[in-house]
Each structure stands twice: as C-alpha cells, then as structure tokens.
C-alpha cells in the first residue's frame, strides 16, 4: 500500500525556489500522521548540485532525477516525477502551486491517477485520511476537500501558506534514472522584466492608487507627492483617468493596466468596481482606505481602513518625510 510523502522540488536557473522549503515544511508537519518517509525529488540537469538545499529537517531521502533540460520542461518533469512515484509509491505528493506547478501538477495527477487539489493552504490528516482546504470564489469561501477512494493524493500548495523548513538534516541521497523521454518543448531564454522609463504600472512593486474620493483635480497633486515620498508608483482608477486628471498609463483595471508585479497596493478612495478590481485584485497585500464601509474594494483587500483618504494621507505623510 502507498505510504510516505513525495515532495517535488522546484528549481529555476540552478537555484531551488523558496517554495521548495515550504513544501518540505508542510510535509514535516504531517509526516507522522501520514506515515512513512519523506522524499524530496529534485528534477534538474544536475540535481546533485541542488541536493544540499533539500536536506532539511524532516527529509529522509533526497531523490536525484537527472533530466536533459536546464529549465522546467513539462514532459521531462512529469516523466521524472512518475519515476519517483513508481519507485517510492507515496500516498501523498506535494507540488508547488506556482507558475511551473500550473504547468505540470495536473498532468502528473492524471498520469499518477491521484486524487488532486490545487492552491491548497491547509492540510489535515485524520486517522490516515488526508483532507485539504483551498479558497473558492475569490477567497470569499473556503472549501474542505476529501479524496474518497484514492490511495494517492497530489496537492499543489499555495506559496507562502506553509512555514518553510529549516535546519539541515542528514538525509540520504539517492539517484534514480529517468526513462528517456521526448521533450516536446524547448526553453529558449529568460526575459527579465523590462525596466521601462516613465510610468510603469505593470512593473511596479508598490502602487499607491487613487479613485473618485480624491474629489478634484488639484487634490491629485497631494497624492502624487505622497506616492513619491513613499516611493510608490502613482496609479488611479478609471474615473480619474477619464477626467483627464492623470494619464491613461496610470490607470489600473480592465481598460487600463494590470498591476502584474505588485507586492503592495494602497487603494485610496477607490470604491472597487469590477473594472478596477480586474487589474489589481490578485495583489497579495492590498490596503484599502475608503469612507464607505460597504465599498467593494474591502472584499479583495487584506487590510481595510474605513476613513477619510485625506486625513489618512496627511497622517501617512508624517511617517515618510
């Protein structure tokens, strides 16, 4: 019978991604309840060079799976992972819900005929039965998933949801050979995000965005100044660009730009129309300030402030002089 946990490590440009440590951390936390060993599969051209980074507390064994590509390639990745699955017969497979994870987890689940859930942020093991929790409908609800009749389950775990494993361990290192597999796509190059001159909403990590609450054109200046003080890129919602108070290049939303690289989005006086949310709701840290407690923006925000954007702005300035 299947037993143990198989963690599929992620690497890019010869470095293990931080999510790998989180997968190991998640595996370690439930190891005793699941039963069996924790193995970490490293799939790379030279997996041995990455082994040390996976020999972490809770890991019994690091599996080296050499493949013929430097960077992630789904066919090779799945073939290698399947090799590890067939040799170790794990009852639980943990993969990252990362961009590369989206590129292979479903394929592996189908091939391994495993129960399957993605974007999982909590795992429970009750009398050997694994259940998983994920969000639904833009995190408005949580869903508890079960895997009836499955003796193997693949969970793709949400990055930053599980504490990273720490502390080196004396894990064994085993090399497995991966059956020859045709790679039906070929990596050509990485393209680093362009650092465009001028206004760059898609490339900005920190955006301070203003909406209708700003009231009139001359008030915009105050927030442009605040954005500069806070070292944020100034953005806006559609009505502000429509009024001609800020250029279209600063408009975030469906008919504007998407805050693709944004880590922190400070929305001031933005009600949160569907139009605007389309460009920013994915941002992990959204702080919304709005005088209307029922504003839609609070449904996507991580932090909410019901209050006057001018007062908050004045006070905020005090901290960034």
């Amino acid at each position: 019978m299947a037993q143990g946990i198989l963690v599929i490590a992620e690497q890019r440009r010869g470095v293990l991604s931080p999510v790998t440590q989180e997968l190991i951390g998640a595996a370690r936390a439930i190891k005793n309840d699941v039963g069996g060993a924790v193995s970490v599969a490293i799939i790379a051209r030279d997996p041995a060079s990455l082994a040390e980074g996976a020999r972490l507390d809770g890991v019994d064994e690091v599996l080296l799976l050499p493949v013929t590509a430097d960077e992630f390639q789904p066919d090779l990745h799945v073939a290698a992972a399947m090799q590890a699955v067939s040799e170790r017969d794990p009852s639980l497979i943990l993969a990252p819900h990362s961009v590369d994870g989206w590129g292979y987890a479903a394929a592996l689940a189908v091939q391994a005929d495993a129960g399957f859930a993605t974007d999982v942020f909590a795992i429970q093991v009750d009398a050997g039965e694994v259940t998983a929790v994920r969000g639904a409908y833009g995190e408005r609800a949580h869903a508890l998933l079960e895997f009836p009749g499955r003796d193997r389950v693949l969970l793709a775990l949400r990055p930053s949801a599980f504490p990273a494993a720490e502390g080196a361990a004396d894990s064994t290192v085993t090399e497995l050979s991966v059956p020859e597999t045709a790679a039906r796509s070929r990596h050509l190059e990485f393209i680093d995000p362009p650092s465009e001159g001028g206004v760059d909403i898609p490339g900005a990590e920190f955006i301070l965005s203003i909406g209708r609450g700003v009231g009139e054109e001359d008030n915009v200046e105050e927030f442009a100044e605040l954005a500069e003080q806070m070292q944020a890129v100034l953005g806006c919602s559609r009505p502000i660009a429509d009024a001609g108070w800020l250029p279209k290049a600063r408009q975030v939303g469906y008919s504007g730009k998407t805050a693709s690289s944004c880590k922190l989005y400070l929305a001031l006086g933005i009600s949160g129309s569907v139009q605007h949310l389309a460009g920013m709701k994915h941002v992990e840290n959204i702080i919304a300030v709005n005088s209307d407690a029922n504003a839609g923006i609070f449904n996507v925000a991580r932090y909410g402030v019901v209050g006057d954007m001018f007062e908050v702005s004045k006070e905020l300035r005090q901290h960034f002089e």
């Binding site: 001359d218 200046e221 100044e225 429509d242 001609g244 279209k248 008919s255 139009q275 002089e321």
Partner: protein
C-alpha cells in the same frame, strides 16, 4: 458620480415624439424584463402596478439584487420588506434607500438576526428613539454604529461614552455636534489618540488647546494648530515649534492669518514651504520667492496656485520639469496665449493639460484633435469647446477611451451621442445612458441593451418621459 445622478433623476429626453405609459407597460407585458420593470417603477408612482412589481421580482436571486441596490424604487423595497427571507432583510437593513416603513418593520424583528442590528443602528432612516433599543443587543458593532448615527440622542451618546470603549469613543470623537459635556466625558475616558481628535472639535475648551501646545506628542500640537479658536499666545508658540510637521500644520490651517507666516518662506523644512505655497491667500511676492527655490514640488504647487500672477506662470511654463509645465497648463490664470505654446509641448501630458482647456484658441484645439496620443485626444474629446463635427469624428475613434470621452463631453449633442448607444464597450453605452441630451430613438436603443443596468436607466427615463405627458 454621474451614474448615481442619472439613476436617481431618470431625466426625460427631448424630441418631438412621445411615449404613452400604457404602451410601455404593454410592451413589457409582452416581453417581461425585471430590470425594465424596475426602471418603470422607479420612474413615476403612476407605474406602481402589481404586474410590474411581479415582473421585477421573478425569483429570489433578483429580489436579493434589488434589496441591496441603492437605486431600487421604494415600492420594490417595500414589497421586499414583506419577504420572510433573512438575507433579503440583511440587505434591506444595509441599503440607504430602504424606506422608513420597511425600516420600522425590520426594527420590530431586529433581534432575530444578529447582523441586522448594527446595520439598522447605522441606517439614516432609523429613528432616534429606536437607537437605545438596538444598542441593548449587547454588540459592540451596534454601539459603534449608533455612536456615529447622525440622529443619536445626547443621552444615548453620553451613556455610550461612559462605557469607555475605545472604538466607540473614536467614532464619538469625530462627531461634529459634540456638546461640552459629551466632549468632557470622551476626554475623560479616551486615550491620547481619541483626545487628539477632540482637539479639533469646535467645542474644545481653550484650556485644553493651551495645554496641547505644550504636549510632548507632535500629533496633539498639530491637531491644536488647526483649531479656529486657538488662543493667540498658543498660536505664536506653535509657529515656532521645533517640529516641522507642527509648523506645516500651522501653515496649512486656513484660520492662521497669512501675515503671521512670513518667516515660513525661508523655513528650513520643505514641507513647511510647500504648505505655505498651497495657500490661496499669498501675496505674489511670497509665491515668487517660493517658486525661485529649488525643488520641483514647490514649483508644482506654486504653478497650481490660482493666485499665481501671469508673469510667474510664464516663467514656470519654461521649466525643465514636465510636471511643472503641466501644472501651468491647468492653472485657470494661464492665458490662452500661453496655452497655445503649451499645446505644442514635447510632453503629451502637458499637451493633454492644454487640450482640456475650454478657453483654448479654436485653431489650437483643431491642431490637438490631430494628435496621436490618447491622453491628448481624450482631453479634446471631453472639451466642451470642441466643435460638433470633430466630436462626431472622435465618437468613431478606434480607442474606446477616446469614444467614452465624447460620451462624457457635456456639450455633446443628441446626434453626436446617438452612435455611442451601440458602442461595443458596455461602459461607454452606460455613460451615454446617463446623458440628458438623448433622442427618443437613442433611448429606445438603450432600452433593449444586453446590460441590465443600462436597461434599468433607459426604462426609467422612458417612464419619466411618458409620465410627464
């Protein structure tokens, strides 16, 4: 903004033709549409017909939508008030449009649902005498809501303050109608942050303001600095405060006489000089001295200042910083002659600033209409001085934002707006649906729109038109 206005007013249209109320009802009966029916119900009391009411509420999902919608007609909300459905009742309790009789009914069973109490305590139509009963539910959220209710009685407020709960005290401290007694009680129970807010209250006693000027926290001194009844000696003291944030607060306060601020022109902190540059009562010589100092922000603010003399604007229009030139282009004191030059600026954002000016020379506006930058074209399309034939051309532009700017142009005629009623971009059609100047044919086109909210407005307007005949 605009949307809310149109939804509320349901303005009628012009044009020779008329529509009859019975014809409209008949059309809907033949082809039922909940949103169109709601539009008619919102148009005029004449339409309060049980068949339309039934049509507007075909199922629970639609009822839930209308229960939470701020523009739902009162008769629909009253109908919904009779539904024994807790989700509908929660939405009604939180909907500012919910009429008083429905609020009264909700108050009768407010104990049934714990989420209804706080919403009712915040509702403007909840009568003053009902608040003490709601507060008795023991929930902090209800007490916070009641503390902010504009109609809350003095006795209740005093009692709420006496409980010493910080979230309640913070809401109380922001009320505009604080009595001396209430202020004293909040001061007594509040922490230093709540007390700082009280320093802004009109009823704040002078001795508290005087004491605040010596307070160790800059926050207290900043709050006191803006008080209209600040005793003179205290103001003098704050003018010389060692903390730039406090001096900036003094400079920002409209109640500080400008004569006292002379020395701030040379204040070491840029923050203080900017606060000064934003004042609209500065003598030109002060603005001049501020504009000559380094720092683009200072110049931006001077260039925005409507009391900036023309000569100085001329000089700022030569600035190397595009944002300063942009600020000049938006200053109402900037002449059409200067705008002509800014309209040829290398930076599109400066040209866009000029293109939005209604006082631009027609020849300059015509040239800008051939610009290729979307910000410039958008400003031309929104400019009420742009001639109708130009607008008609821009209404067909490939860029949907340019087309929408035409739809928003207050001078756009019914003929210019007509083709935008079939714009593929729903938002543009929505903007059109709110415009006063629409032909009956345009309204009829909007009445068949795929978007429910557009049909709602169109039918509301058709209904208002029919009822006015």
């Amino acid at each position: 903004m605009g949307a809310d206005r149109a939804l509320e007013s349901g303005k009628a249209v012009m044009g020779g033709e008329t529509v009859e109320p019975q014809t409209l009802i008949g059309r809907l009966l033949a082809r039922p549409d909940a949103y169109a029916a709601a539009g008619l119900l919102a148009a005029h009391p004449d339409f309060a017909d049980h068949r339309l009411l039934r049509m507007a509420l075909p199922d629970r999902a639609t009822g839930l939508v209308f229960a939470g919608m701020r523009f739902s007609p009162a008769c629909l909300l009253e109908e919904l008030g009779g539904w024994q459905d807790s989700a509908v009742q929660r939405r009604l309790a939180g909907n500012p449009a919910t009429p008083a009789p429905v609020i009264a009914r909700l108050l009768d069973n407010s104990s049934a649902d714990p989420d209804v109490g706080p919403r009712l305590a915040a509702h403007v139509r909840t009568p003053t005498d009902a608040l003490p009963g709601l507060v008795a539910d023991g929930r902090l959220a209800t007490r916070v809501a009641a503390a902010g209710h504009p109609g809350a009685g003095h006795g209740l407020l005093l009692e709420l303050a006496g409980r010493g709960e910080m979230p309640v005290l913070r809401v109380l401290s922001a009320r505009a109608d604080l009595s001396t007694a209430l202020l004293a009680r909040i001061w007594e129970r509040g922490d230093r942050h709540v007390q700082a807010e009280l320093l802004r209250a009109a009823t704040c006693p002078r001795q508290l303001l005087a004491a605040a000027a010596h307070a160790p926290h800059a926050l207290w001194r900043r709050r006191a600095a803006g008080h209209p009844a600040l005793p003179e000696p205290v103001r003098w003291r704050l003018l010389r405060d060692s903390d730039a944030r406090v001096r900036a607060a003094v400079a920002e306060a409209p109640t500080t006489p400008v004569e006292l601020l002379h020395r701030f022109q040379a204040d070491p902190a840029q923050r203080v000089r900017i606060a000064l540059a934003r004042r609209q009562d500065l003598p030109p010589s002060w603005l001049d001295s501020l504009a000559r100092q380094p720092g683009a922000w200072l110049q931006r603010w001077v260039a925005r200042n409507p009391c900036c003399p023309r000569q100085m604007l001329e000089r700022l229009a030569q600035s190397a910083a595009a944002e300063v030139r942009r600020a000049v282009s938006r200053n109402p004191a900037t002449s059409a002659f200067m705008l002509a030059r800014l309209a040829a600026d290398a930076d599109p954002w400066v040209r866009a600033g000029a293109a939005g000016r209604a006082d631009l020379y027609p020849s300059v506006l015509a040239r800008l209409a051939d610009d290729t930058e979307v910000d410039v074209l958008g400003a031309v399309a929104a400019n009420p001085s742009t001639p109708a034939e130009r607008l008609a051309g821009l209404a067909m532009h490939d860029d949907r934002d340019v087309r929408r700017a035409v739809a928003q142009n207050p001078a756009a005629s019914a003929a210019v707006l007509a083709p935008l009623a079939t714009d593929p971009y729903p938002l543009n059609r929505f903007v059109v649906s709110q415009r006063d100047a629409l032909s009956l044919a345009t309204l009829e086109a909007l009445a068949g729109d795929p978007e429910p909210r557009i049909r709602f407005i169109a039918w509301k307007r058709l209904g208002a038109l029919a009822a006015s005949h």
